[in-house]
């Protein structure tokens, strides 16, 4: 890595020497630019944070009293001799790709992204750059998502069937982003939607900032478990099959995640159903996004980095793997997806 590079990869994370800041660092630093509020990107302990205005409320909700500046999509800001801007990544509300320009050299760090619009997050916008740091959580051709309307159709059908037989449907999904996206696609004429506290906390924050979400009812310790027949419960994946879930009597369980596209994972999770819906780009989404940046240098991170970088090389890109602390090839982050 030569001295003039706009971004370099360090032990603490992606670093901009000209601006003296890090992007999604995993060790405490002075200044951190945060792509989105998921725990593997937004860690506690930094002196100063910068995120989009839309991401800020959830970030504060999760990290507590932090020193946080905000920026709007598309707005540019100079930090040291670097020019920084945040662009919609379509992953969760407020998620951003971070664009860093130093001496005319443009880098974009994707964070996590999804190229297909979902009516909840600001839709992904490709940003032209010289170097693109891309996630590749689902960077294998086996991952191809169906249109979300189709998946919502499946979920509602499952819910309606359970409701008709008097059973409670428990849908496991990550509490920030996925849960709200599902909520926006549920057919509320079927029944009422109950939430686990981990999901409702984020719902509340998002409602307060003006994101429209359908009505939900948080499950409290005194909630009558047996009186909820026909309802759908949104809960974090860890709550499924737990003691918590047993109070509802007859239930049918499901997970909603991109990993549910694999039979092995589906069977291992031992839920009744697995719905394939992800907040990440699928194989064709990743390839299209990379192409749209017109970048020559592609740095891959978070996912099947070995395979995906080899593929990009065969497609003529100058592709490299970003060294990261999160060397997991995926299923580690099954629950975070």
């Amino acid at each position: 890595m030569n001295k003039t590079a706009a971004l370099i990869f360090t032990e603490k994370g992606i670093y901009c020497p000209n601006g003296n800041f890090y992007i999604d660092p995993w060790r405490p630093v002075d200044r951190a630019l945060i792509t989105h509020a998921h725990a593997d990107h937004a860690r506690p302990g930094h002196n100063r944070y910068l995120s989009t205005d839309i991401a800020a409320p959830v970030l504060k909700h999760r990290l507590g009293a932090i020193s946080l500046e905000t920026i709007s999509y598309g707005e540019t800001r100079q930090i040291g001799s670097a020019i920084v801007s945040f662009h919609p990544a379509g992953h969760v509300p407020g998620s951003a790709q971070i664009c860093v320009e130093v001496n005319g050299e443009i880098w974009v760090v994707s964070g996590d992204y999804k190229t297909v619009a979902d009516n909840l997050s600001t839709a992904f916008e490709p940003v032209k750059c010289h170097s693109f740091v891309t996630e590749c959580t689902f960077g294998l051709p086996a991952f191809r998502w169906m249109a979300q309307e189709h998946v919502f159709g499946e979920i509602n059908q499952w819910w309606a069937k359970n409701a008709a037989s008097g059973a409670v449907s428990i849908l496991g999904a990550y509490g920030l982003g996925k849960a709200q996206r599902l909520l926006s696609g549920l057919d509320l004429s079927i029944g009422k939607v109950l939430t686990h506290s981990a999901v409702e906390g984020t719902n509340r924050v998002m409602r307060q900032q003006g994101i429209a979400l359908p009505e939900t009812e948080q499950i409290m310790p005194e909630t009558d478990g047996k009186g909820q027949s026909g309802a759908l419960i949104l809960a974090p994946p860890s709550a499924l099959g737990s003691v918590w879930s047993r109070r509802f009597g007859e239930t049918s369980s499901a997970f909603a995640s991109g990993w549910m596209g694999l039979r092995g994972v589906r069977r291992r999770r031992a839920a009744d159903r697995g719905f394939v819906i992800s907040d990440h780009a699928d194989w064709s989404g990743l390839n299209a996004a990379i192409k749209a940046t017109r970048a020559e240098n592609i740095y891959v991170t978070h996912g099947y980095t070995d395979v995906f970088s080899k593929w990009l090389k065969s497609e003529g890109y100058n592709a490299q793997i970003v060294p990261t602390e999160f060397t997991g090839e995926t299923v580690d982050i099954e629950d975070m997806e």
Partner: protein
């Protein structure tokens, strides 16, 4: 095939046995009879002969998906199932063929007559005309092995419900070496006289491990005890002038054990004996290792017949003088067996499993403690009034095995599993210390919970020292308690020992790598138990 693909989806869309049974019952009642028969065949491992190789499928599907072959291979290693991988990467179907399961299978079988180009055309065309789920099923028909969480027991129950017949009868009907070519739904499932097939074995009666103190079984006078041996559970059938030997895995193994053909002229026609096949010399069993050499062969060389001769250690009699005696009490069956063995057995490769007499349960505890001296695994307890049932049941029979041996070992290699375990590191190689070196001595795959496998998989990914294809060498760090049933000398293994039924009993997170056992510890065990 839509109906069959739907059945597979239904079976996979629930973890509840009742719903799985319901889906199967529906299929077994409504599908065309030929398809039902094939469904039974496929779910019981009777798959059609392969007409297309896995490498052809890989090559053609990579072609059709416009992907390099190496990428397909990498994807396969993550997905963990070739049929599924191919179904996932192919472009969506643009045509539609509506053909029954049987028609597809017949078409696939006809491929043997075609040249490679014609085969390829057929496969590519078929892929273009099938929905994602049908495509997966179609690929499975070629690659074989439907694992959809349907046990023999579940299938038996579903057929029984669909046909209003008793489960035990269906279990019996489904035994043996029938294929959809030699029979039909009516003959196999519905016909009155289904015992016409002389080779058909009875379903094995299997036991659970004793959970509580034997005292809770009640009066010792109602129970029979015998040694439990580590051989191959088998059923020998003398019927219609032929002698058939079946293993517990429902494989016909008559050719592997030709000495048992001596039963033919010495045991009356219409006799079926349940027992253990053991290698045997000087009226004592030899090691299981030796018995293993007899398996998986078409013919047994003379040398092996001499170095590893087998006998049938008789536990029970299921048919006598052409009559099914399984519903008689054990005591009655045992009397017949004793009379039969008493007359002939010494001249034949047949021994009666001796009854162990005991006054009270504590006597039996002392006997059990000595099982390893006898090369036995423990004891079997059988209620004297028990019928010979089908499948694994609790109550009338119990196995009361010795506690396993165990040793603490360091994990040094890890490999990802397949199917349900795809993408998880589940297959480990373990080592013990030899001075400052670690010597691998066993592999183990089972014993951890899914959560533990997930945790160790994350660790493996972060602590890989080197990769050898799918195998990762990891930092020697984690210690596991390996439990096993026996230990034998082995010249093939670097450590000089081979274990019987090794599995992970516990993840010893409280121990450091240097706290693991040594090769000397293993060799001491070999001296005592080998």
């Amino acid at each position: 095939m839509k109906r069959f693909a739907t059945l597979i989806s239904q079976l996979e869309a629930t973890t509840k046995t009742a719903l799985k049974t319901q889906a199967l019952v529906q299929y077994m009642s409504l599908a065309p009879k030929k398809d039902r028969l094939w469904c039974l065949a496929l779910f019981s491992g009777r798959r059609p002969k392969r007409t297309v190789t896995a490498s052809q499928l890989k090559e053609w599907s990579a072609d059709a998906a416009n992907l390099p072959l190496w990428l397909l291979e990498e994807t396969y290693s993550v997905v963990g199932d070739l049929a599924e991988t191919i179904a996932l990467i192919l472009p969506k179907a643009d045509k539609k063929y509506d053909r029954s399961l049987t028609e597809w299978i017949d078409d696939l079988r006809l491929l043997t007559k075609l040249n490679i180009e014609e085969k390829k055309q057929f496969i590519l065309n078929s892929w273009c005309a099938l929905s994602d789920q049908e495509r997966f099923v179609f690929n499975k028909l070629i690659t074989g092995g439907f694992r959809v969480g349907v046990s023999q027991k579940l299938m038996t129950r579903a057929v029984a419900q669909a046909t209003s017949k008793p489960e035990a009868e269906i279990a019996h009907r489904l035994m043996g070496n029938w294929t959809p070519d030699q029979t039909d739904w009516h003959t196999l499932i519905e016909a009155e006289n289904f015992t016409a097939d002389f080779s058909r074995p009875y379903p094995f009666f299997l036991s659970h491990a004793l959970e509580n103190a034997p005292q809770e079984l009640g009066s010792p006078t109602e129970w029979f005890a015998e040694w439990k041996w580590d051989g191959i559970r088998g059923q020998v059938i003398v019927r219609g002038g032929d002698c058939f030997v079946w293993s517990r895995g429902e494989e016909l193994v008559s050719d592997q054990f030709p000495e048992l053909q001596k039963f033919l002229d010495n045991i009356p026609d219409g006799t079926v004996i349940d027992g253990e096949i053991l290698t045997w010399k000087d009226e004592a069993p030899l090691s299981f290792n030796l018995l293993q050499k007899r398996l998986g062969r078409k013919t047994v060389p003379k040398g092996l017949l001499q170095s590893a001769p087998v006998i049938l250690y008789a536990y029970d009699i299921l048919e006598w003088q052409g009559q099914d005696v399984r519903d008689q009490p054990f005591q009655y069956r045992r009397a017949i067996l004793e009379a039969l063995c008493d007359n002939k057995s010494l001249a034949l490769p047949l021994r009666l499993s001796p009854s162990i007499s005991f006054q009270d349960w504590s006597d039996l505890e002392d006997v059990r403690a000595k099982a390893r001296d006898q090369r036995a695994e423990g004891l079997m307890l059988k209620n004297l009034a028990s019928h010979y049932q089908a499948g694994r049941k609790k109550g009338p029979w119990w196995k009361w095995k010795l506690d396993p041996l165990n040793i603490d070992a360091v994990m040094i290699y890890a490999q990802a599993g397949h199917g349900r375990r795809a993408n998880l590191y589940t297959d480990f190689t373990f080592a013990v210390w030899d001075g400052s070196d670690l010597v691998p001595f066993t592999k183990a795959y089972s014993g951890l919970t899914d959560a533990e496998f997930r945790q160790i998989s994350t660790w493996v990914r972060k602590n890989t020292l080197q990769r050898f294809g799918p195998v990762r060498q990891v930092t020697p760090y984690h210690v596991f308690e390996i439990a096993f049933e026996g230990i034998h000398e082995s010249l093939r293994h670097k450590s000089g020992v081979a274990l019987r039924f090794p599995r992970m009993a516990r993840w010893r997170q409280d121990k450091m790598a240097q706290d693991a056992n040594s090769l000397d510890d293993l060799k001491d065990m070999l001296k005592i138990y080998g």
